[in-house]
Structure formats: C-alpha cells, structure tokens
Symmetry: C2
Subunit: 343 residues, 2 copies
Amino acid sequence: MMKKKISIKDIAKLTDTSITTVSFVLNGKGRISKEISKKILDVAQKNGYEPNRMAVGLRTGVSKVIGLIVESIGGPFFGEMAKVIEEEAEKGGYRIIYCSTNNNLQKGKDMIRMLSQQLVDGYIITPMKGLEKDIQNLVDNEKPVVLIDGYFPGTNIPHVLVDNFASAYNAVDCFVRSGYKNIGMVTADLGLIQLNDRSLGYKAALKDNKLKDSSKMLLKIPFDMDKNEGVEAIKAFIEKQKQMDAIFFTTNYLGTMGLQAIKDLKLRIPEDIAVISFDDNEVFSLYPPGITTIQQPTYDIAKSAIDILMAQINTHKLDASKIDLQIPSKLIERGSTLAKVSA
Amino acid sequence: MMKKKISIKDIAKLTDTSITTVSFVLNGKGRISKEISKKILDVAQKNGYEPNRMAVGLRTGVSKVIGLIVESIGGPFFGEMAKVIEEEAEKGGYRIIYCSTNNNLQKGKDMIRMLSQQLVDGYIITPMKGLEKDIQNLVDNEKPVVLIDGYFPGTNIPHVLVDNFASAYNAVDCFVRSGYKNIGMVTADLGLIQLNDRSLGYKAALKDNKLKDSSKMLLKIPFDMDKNEGVEAIKAFIEKQKQMDAIFFTTNYLGTMGLQAIKDLKLRIPEDIAVISFDDNEVFSLYPPGITTIQQPTYDIAKSAIDILMAQINTHKLDASKIDLQIPSKLIERGSTLAKVSA
DNA sequence: ATCATTTGGTAAAACGTTTTAATTGTCTAC
DNA sequence: GTAGACAATTAAAACGTTTTACCAAATGAT
C-alpha cells in the first residue's frame, strides 16, 4: 500500500519519452504522433495518474478553487445557495472552499486575506459593512468577485441578489389587497443594505397606498439580541401597537421569532394579525394556517452568481463592473393573509 | 494597483540576505542573528508578505486544507456541523473544502478522487453505501479520515455519530411512559446504517416493553420518493393503521412530511396520534403543540470529528482505527407526547 | 541537389518554497 | 599557533508541472 503517487516524470520513464511529451499529450497541446500518444495515455490511465494540483497551481497560478464567503452556511438560504454554487462550479472543474464570517468583520477580513494567498481563483462573497475596502482591493487586483445577497452602493462590484425593494413593496400590496390597513414591520439592525432596501420598499408601498405613516409601527431588533429577547421584544411591540392588524418580518429568523411571539400572546392568524415573512421555509408552509412568504429565488441567484464569476475567470478582460442583477422574488400566499373579514 | 505579490526572494533582495535566511527567519528555524531577523521581519510585515500556498504545498506535501464530504450542505444538521468544523479547523490554520454528494455514489467517488490529488490533508466524510472501498483505500494510504453520522460495520475507520440505537430506544420509552402502546415507525430506504440502528433501537424497545410486534406498523419510504408522494404514503399508512396511537419518524425530513400528513388528515396531536421525530429543528419547536424530538449533539459530533482528525494529522502515527464514538442524544419533550388520557 | 518548411520531439527554465549540506568566520582549549 | 567546536549564513537541490525555444529529420518546392 501507500504507493507513491505517479508523476509525469515516471510516465516519461515508463514510456521512454520526455517529460514535455507526456505533458503535451496529457494536455492535448503540442503535436505528438498517434502511437506515442496512445502509449502515454495508456500508461497514465493504468497507473491512475492524477496531476499534482499544487505543482500545476504553482506553475500556472490557477488553483481551480473558488472561495465562498458567507455569513453562515447553516440556515436554509445559504445552505441551498452553497449547494447550487458547488454543483455549477464542479461542472467547470472548480471546487469550493468555504468560509463563514458569522457577521464578524475581522473574520471576514481574515478570510479574504487567507484566500488571497494565491489559493483561490475567484470569490463569491456576501458583503458586510466594513468589508468594502478589502473587496474593492480584490477587484482592483483583477480578482474575479461576485457579491450575493447584498452590494455596496456606489461601488462597481458585480452583484446579484433578490429585488428587495420590490419584494417588500409587494408584501405590503398583498396585505392591502386583503384588506389590511395597519401594517407594521419588524426588521433587524444589522446595517445590511438589503434590509434597508426592504424597509424602503415597505415605506414606499405604504405611501403609494396612502396608508398612515409607519414610523410608529416599525420595530428594529438590535443585532446582538438573542432569540428569547427578540421574541419578548416582538411581543411588547405587538401589544403596544393595538391597532396593528398585519405585520411584515424582513427576515426568516425574525419571522419565526414573530410566530413564537404571536403564539405566546395567543393571537389568531390572520384574524387578530396577518403575517408575511421574508424567506420561505418549511416552518412557514407547515405552521397553521400557513404563513405567506417572500420566496427568494435562491437557485437563480446562485446560478447567476457562479455564471458571472466563471465568465470573469474565463474571459480575462470582461468588464463585470456594471453588473447589477436584481432578481424578482415570488410571493407565496398562504392562510396568514386571507382576506380580512371586517369587524 | 495589481502589485505583484512579494516573494521570499524579493525580501532577500530587499534586505541583502539570502533566500534561505529569509525562510529560516519566517519559519523560526535555523539560527539567525537578532538584527537580521528583525530587519527581515520588518520588511516582510511592511510589504504584507504571505507565503504562496501552492509552493509550500508542493514542497512540503501539506496543503492545510481538509476535505468535507457530506450528503448535502443544505439542511440544518449538516449546515450546523459544517459551521463548527470550519471554526475548529480554522484554529489550527486549516481551511475546509466542501463537497456534497447528494447521495449519489458516483459523485462521492469522484469527490474522493479529486480531493486525493494531493490537495487535502485529511477527510471528514459522511459515509454512504458503496463508498467503503474508496474510503478504506484512503485509510490504507495513511490519509487521516474521520466518518461522521455513519460508519461501516466491520471496518476500522474512526467514526463519530449519535447513538442511534439508544436514541430510538429512548423515543419509544418516552411514548410508553406517556401511556402510548401502539407505536408505529416511519423510516427511509436509504441503506444507511444509522437508519438501521434506529430501527433496531425501536424494535428492541418494543420488545423490552412487551409491546406487540411492530412489523405491521412500520413504513419504509423509498429513497426516490419526492415530498408529495411521501406525504401521501404516510397518510395512507396512518389511515390503514387504525389502532396506532403514536408514531416515530426516524429523520428530520420524514418528520415534517409526517406533520403535513397529520395536518391533511385533520388529526390532533397528541390526542389522536402522538409524535416523535429525529433531529430537532425550528419547525418542531414551533409547530403546535410542540413536537418531541431527538436532538442530535451536532456540536459535539463535529467537534469530536475535527479533533480526531487533527490528532491524526499532527501525530503522524496515531492509531485511530479503534475510535467508535457514539454520543448520546437529548430527548426534547414537547406537547406531542403529553400523557395519554385514556378513552 | 539545395533550400525552405513542416513534423515530431525534447532540454531547460521557471513557478516559490523548504531543507540539506557546505562555507565562512570566531572562539576555545591545548 | 593550531585543531576542533560552534555560530551565522548561504548555495543548491528538490517538489511536479507548463511552456518556450530549440533541434533533427522528413517533406516539399525549385
């Protein structure tokens, strides 16, 4: 056992040819006769030759690895994303090296620094506040980069994400169509542009529908609040806003916290309060009476991101700086937004 | 911009020393005078020197990367796992390269082959039927390997997973304590040893409690069934087993399918049917009246796995072949197993 | 027959490290 | 003073590839 890996040099010796010849045959370059080619291919095959990635990487400067930096691979959204990205990358012979930042800025910076030690050919990153410089630096150094799930306003870094503004706008519209007029919103204080866009969509929709100003019916959960505290905060919020008859949660995890809060308060959905949450997931489809959600097109986002990245990698001088892909979401209507029966 | 990365050679030139000296200083080897050391360190620091991983890898044969091969990174269980593994690995300066097999044997084989092209120093793998040979081959070639979430009976590959037998046994016990006597089970037909162990635990518990033989009240969902078909199958199963008053789902996804089925049939939990599912997750805590679950110690499993792997990597001649870590699970009791009120 | 071209093949450099073995001084001990 | 020990430094080989530039032989054109 422990057969030493066979190298190109060994194959050369075995076939009585030169290293160059073997390399040429294996890569389909140069011009080598059919017979010699066949002999080399046979020997390579028989001995299970696999090129040494490190050597190739050192010589050519390409690693065939792309770095995926996300907030956390756990969770349905990024998990699903990672899966698609990995599958698509694999088709191009690329592998994924995965890093999570847990929303920790320093960790994000570290990750970028590590990966840039010539070990990845491109990056897919979920941006976070404070990482602008580091990412811009990659771009300036002509590293292929695609941002997903967020972007940096005012910079020229290609990005693909759901259309957050329109999605939130549509959610409010859905409430209105069903007869709800006092629509509150719960969001998080993470400094993420995507949450901000959702807020803007919400506010714009209120305004367009001539509904009362929302400043009162808006709750921002601090980023460092844990789950239980969050539930309590939401409960307090709901109790205070007596007239509120519908509530919009801007993220998945806020939505589940919200359900817990509503359950604790023994309120009925949608009779006492209608609900919409961002990010569809199993809880929402199962939880009675079914929670209306904004389903992010994870597949499309991931697919587009990897495609754009590959395009950058392959055609070296592609100008991707103008790519701003905002993909529409899908509103999944369930029981939580049934038409209101006026009291 | 696009400053060419600085190399050890450049630093040598800049400090008027030799390549060797720089390498020695940077790695704390050899014996170099304080003054020269300082000069070199300063220059390296100032220019943001980072060693070229490829070159190091080629020269030393270690990549500082470990391969994580799981069924699918999506899903709460593996996602959480991946997170812990990545965090722990990072402490030792290792990065994770991630691959999912989607339960596809060929893909699993391909992954192992790719990763073994000298690009990872160790493997964490969720085993699947048919991969025995390939994995054994890694072990024979002295590659560090740890299996998680499953194992190959009769082989000597270190593994860490939840104690599936005891977990299932405890679930049945919980039903019995609450007064349920006709306990059915729904499992999947994936050929996975862990599911088999769960079945065995279930059967043993039935026997020890002198309950009626279970062969009738056992449903096996074929591996290629989609979600809707699964729900239908479970509905049919429940309707057929009139006397069944409790049901045990051996996986997360079967559990949620089961909830859907029970909901469709308009049965009450636990009055009409008590429920326990493997793998705790948000749905189960939220879904009224709260579903009792077997919570896998994901953190412990992941932590142990990476620790064992690191131990193998660092102390080269560690005999890990006897490591068989079966970690107890935690039964989270919720409303779905409240004491039965006899009719 | 001679020169130009093509065809089939290879030597050698380079990528950026690590590490062995060698080379210079300096110092100690006799 | 000289032999050995030791300290500080370095030259050079090696890891496994890719690729440039070159060479010899065969073919074609005149």
